[in-house]
């Protein structure tokens, strides 16, 4: 029996077994940011340790960076964190893509665009959305800060091997159905805890046809389905995306590419579970509650606790509806919004902004709605500028901002106020996630966010815009 990509990468990076039975796994690539790394460097200093392979750790600043006047945060705590990262990178010899580098951005956007993210590698970062890098056929996952210390000091982690669930999505996605809808649909089907103990392998012709950026959107939200990592097998598209990027060794590229492709799951690989999904069943999907698995299609009604199958489900729906201030059994379409946010490590890449820009010309953001557009990186921002996208967004009434995580988790000044409701292309609709303890989030694709911004309420983008066929998506 053959091996899955997960097993191949795991085996290739196994150093040994520690006393409690866990594997000591080599982490080839380590990404860090300002929020979860300062304490780890503090631990290194306390223990008198150095960074073992400084050339394998890459830093950037994303979570707390303002999106206006980026290098001069008004918040002294934010300024202190940015200074701490500068000092730690300097003291320990770690590459730092800072604001002045022109390469700063959300760590999960920077890694791929620099070509640091490569197939057949292990990637760890003190951030649960590290699974994004799995789009390249890497085993990539989030870790805690003590583990950041472990990687800095030893380039290894103590880990349990995961089981692998293959999720096959086959058939054709309808126009107006995006990668975001695919992953929201998967999470809805399998649940927010369905992936605990699993790595998700996304396979089937839908993922085969997706661009690298669409694959990143899918892998990004693996953790919202409970899976610590998710991946797509590397193929010709993966190789083409990486060709010529700064951190790709071009000296013998065909050998490198062949090695990358060799990590793809074997045709007779063993999987612990297989789930098959029909692409035609996936509609534009939005959340209605406070967990990413609270998803419905845009044409469905908000769930009714009276129809819940178990007391637990009933309590869960009631809690969510009370927080969201939504009425059971009513359409989600038409729910008024206050804020629209396009950005994040889920949907803050060039193809996301291009796709939205195709539809918003001639439209205006509804009165009373604040609409923010935050590119995922400085490089994405420059690319957008070269293509004239900021002008298109501004003309439609959107605010165009600097790169960072911004209102996905609101550690910078971009926050909801009171119980504002935000149509968001981000990844989490948890209570208080967007910076206000009573703020409300409805997750959806960037084009659906734009449709909501223009309508002033949750809308079906297919009714607001004339959506082209999927072949046009970058």
């Amino acid at each position: 029996m053959g091996k899955s990509l997960y097993q191949k990468v795991w085996d290739a990076h196994t150093v040994g077994t520690i006393a409690d039975g866990r594997t000591q796994l080599f982490i080839g690539t380590h990404l860090i940011h300002e929020v979860t790394s300062p304490q780890a460097f503090g631990m290194l200093r306390d223990l008198g340790l150095k960074v073992k392979f400084p050339q394998r750790t890459f830093a950037t600043v994303d979570h707390i960076v303002p999106t206006i006047d980026q290098d001069a945060p008004q918040d002294p705590l934010a300024a202190e964190m940015m200074q701490a990262l500068r000092k730690n990178a300097d003291d320990f010899g770690v590459t730092y893509f800072d604001l002045a580098s022109g390469k700063q951005g959300i760590v999960h956007v920077v890694g791929p665009e620099q070509g640091i993210t490569q197939p057949g590698t292990t990637i760890a970062c003190g951030d649960s959305h590290t699974a994004t890098h799995g789009a390249f056929g890497a085993i990539a996952f989030g870790i805690g800060t003590t583990q950041v210390r472990d990687v800095l000091a030893t380039q290894t982690l103590a880990l349990e091997e995961l089981r692998v669930r293959r999720i096959e999505v086959s058939g054709d996605l309808a126009p107006g159905v995006y990668a975001k809808d695919v992953i929201l649909h998967i999470i809805r089907l399998l649940g927010a805890k369905g992936g605990i103990g699993y790595a998700y392998e996304y396979a089937g012709d839908v993922f085969d046809r997706m661009s690298m950026e669409e694959r990143m959107t899918v892998c990004n939200m693996s953790i919202e389905g409970g899976a610590r990592c998710g991946y797509v097998n590397p193929d010709a598209k993966t190789v083409a995306y990486l060709h010529g990027r700064p951190y790709v060794d071009m000296s013998d590229f065909s050998a490198t590419a062949a090695r990358w492709l060799s990590f793809a799951s074997d045709a007779d690989a063993h999987f612990d579970d297989i789930v098959r999904i029909n692409a035609a069943d996936i509609e534009p999907t939005v959340t209605w509650g406070i967990s990413p698995d609270h998803g419905i299609s845009i044409s469905e009604n908000i769930p009714d606790p009276a129809k819940a199958k178990t007391p637990l489900e009933k309590a869960s729906i009631e809690e969510a509806l009370a927080y969201m201030k939504l009425d059971a059994g009513t359409p989600i379409k038409g729910v008024k919004i206050d804020v629209a946010f396009i950005g994040s490590c889920t949907n803050g890449r060039i193809s996301d902004f291009r796709e939205v820009a195709k539809y918003i010309q001639g439209h205006k953001v509804a009165p009373g709605v604040q609409a923010l557009v935050v590119p995922g990186s400085q490089i994405v921002a420059i690319q957008c500028e070269q293509e004239g996208l900021p002008e298109i967004f501004r003309a439609a009434g959107f605010e165009w901002r600097g790169a960072g995580c911004s209102m996905c988790l609101a550690m910078n000044p971009d926050k909801l106020v009171g119980d504002q409701l935000c149509a968001s292309s981000s990844n989490r609709n948890f209570k208080g996630r967007q910076g206000s303890s009573t703020g409300r989030t409805i997750l959806m694709s960037p084009v659906m966010v734009a449709a909501a911004a223009i309508s002033g309420s949750i809308a079906d983008a297919r009714e607001v815009f004339t959506i082209e066929t999927r072949a046009a998506v970058a």
Binding site: H13, A153, K193, S436, S437
Partner: protein
């Protein structure tokens, strides 16, 4: 590094209702603007303990009957979402020494074990039994027995719980922080680095 083994933890317990309690709920992101973990304890569950005006809510953590509880009892998928170690750090500093839940998110689980805070899984019915016992008498002492994988109460409850073998072994042998073991295989790490083309 010789660490203290954690065979059992004992204390009064508090039930925190709700499925899928995420780490944003445990420690809201705005409190992560810090370069150390000191001081996180007072912000644990802040936005459910206080309303938007800073007034205490009816959350169980504000119920004086449960003041000083050191065992947290919860439902499914506790600790989901963000990988922030700030979450278990804030629980530890708030005064929690152990968690009993129907299930846990993985990253939270690993972070907690590394902080010597045992997390054990109980059946839904047993979580209800523990909840009922501590709510009927908040003075009830709950013991998480890592050696025998049982949870017992001073009122006579005795229920089976589970945890991964590796977490149990790490806690019982005082190896819950693996750094020394990882450092000890330095030569093997170098050999592996030479083997990998991209390192």
């Amino acid at each position: 590094m010789a660490l203290e083994p954690v065979p059992t933890v004992t204390g009064r317990a508090i039930f925190i209702p709700g499925a899928d309690i995420d780490t944003d709920r445990i420690i809201p992101a705005r409190f992560m603007k810090c370069v150390t973990f000191d001081g996180l304890g007072e912000f644990a569950f802040y936005d459910v303990r206080f309303d938007e005006h800073g007034v205490k809510t009816k959350h169980p953590l504000n119920d004086p009957r449960f003041a000083g509880a050191s065992i947290l009892v919860a439902g499914v998928n506790f600790g989901c979402g963000s990988s922030r170690e700030h979450a278990p750090q804030s629980l530890r500093k708030y005064g929690f020494n152990g968690v009993i839940a129907e299930s846990f998110a993985e990253i939270f689980y690993g972070n907690s074990t590394t902080l010597a805070m045992p997390c054990v899984m109980a059946s839904p019915a047993d979580v209800v039994a523990i909840r009922d016992a501590v709510e009927a008498d908040p003075a009830t002492e709950i013991t998480i027995d890592v050696v025998n994988l049982r949870v017992r109460s001073s009122g006579g409850l005795d229920i089976p719980v589970t945890m991964p073998d590796s977490a149990r072994e790490a806690l019982l042998s005082g190896r819950w922080d693996p750094i020394q073991e990882l450092l000890d295989s330095d030569a093997k790490i170098d050999a592996k680095a030479r083997e990998l083309h991209y390192v």
